[in-house]
């Protein structure tokens, strides 16, 4: 699976997905948004992202990292489609 980041672009209507990062994760990865080729599910997306370095691998492997697909809390088995918005974030601290 070739990785083809197109930062800041809208993936909808293409064979791509948008990946967002929030909170401490955004700072640790120094990234707020990526556009990547569509992959089958969240697990496959994590494998692609882990290739970016140790810090990416560690954060994505952490039990405390949450993932939302199209704004709904999801998990590794959640399947992905072209145009989906996937967000990774640390435990939430609102309220």
């Amino acid at each position: 699976m070739a990785e083809k980041p197109v930062i800041g672009n809208e993936a909808r209507g293409t064979q791509m997905i948008n990946v967002l990062f929030f909170g401490q994760l955004r700072e640790q990865l120094n990234t707020d948004k990526l556009s990547l080729d569509t992959v089958s599910n969240v697990k496959a997306l994590k494998i692609v992202l882990a290739q970016r370095g140790v810090i990416w691998r560690d954060i994505l492997a952490s039990d405390s990292t949450l993932v939302a697909v199209n704004q709904i809390i999801s998990n590794e088995e959640t399947t992905l489609c072209d145009g989906d918005e996937i967000a990774f974030f640390p435990p939430v601290t609102g309220g």
Binding site: F22, G23, A87, P90, V92, T93, G94, G95
Partner: protein, 152 residues
């Protein structure tokens, strides 16, 4: 719709929110409210200011889902959820949850359920200004434990 769900920078007026829950609602004899405020002390540090960041596309969807789940479990009347974002200081109001019901237990359970899931799932993150500089607030393990109360 009977639900008010807002994510906003501005402060909210408890009195107006309470009156909106109460007015012309004589079928509901119970109103429970929760208000969360910025504390002066958190996780071993004095807190000066907070900055509340969120995931704008998701916050309202998340709160709406949580309210819908509460409605499935209890017979609830009116529900209001207000969450603030941006810069906040000591004593400021952060969040309001208000629930009415014909029955006291439903109102209590509904309000606590909404707060417990908001704390565990709604995509807000707090950054604190402390004497040692800014830092991200750590999640509280009690907040994930609180959800076990609602398993069934």
């Amino acid at each position: 719709m009977l639900d008010t769900i807002e994510v906003q920078n501005e402060d909210f007026d408890m009195s107006a929110l309470y009156n909106a829950l109460r007015h012309n609602n004589t079928s509901n004899g119970a109103i429970v409210t929760f208000t969360g405020l910025v504390r002066d002390f958190n996780q071993g540090h004095n807190v000066g200011e907070l900055f509340l960041e969120h995931y704008p596309a998701m916050t309202k969807i998340s709160l709406t889902n949580i309210v819908a789940q509460a409605r499935q479990r209890w017979t609830l009347g009116r529900i209001s959820v207000i969450h603030r974002i941006g810069r906040l200081t000591q004593g400021d109001q952060i969040v309001f949850v208000g629930v009415t019901s014909a029955h006291r237990k439903d109102a209590f359970d509904g309000a606590q359920f909404i707060m417990d899931f908001l704390k565990a799932e709604a995509p807000f993150w707090k950054r604190e200004t402390t004497e040692q500089g800014p830092r991200w607030v750590e999640a509280n393990s009690d907040d994930s434990k609180a959800l076990t109360k609602w398993e069934r």
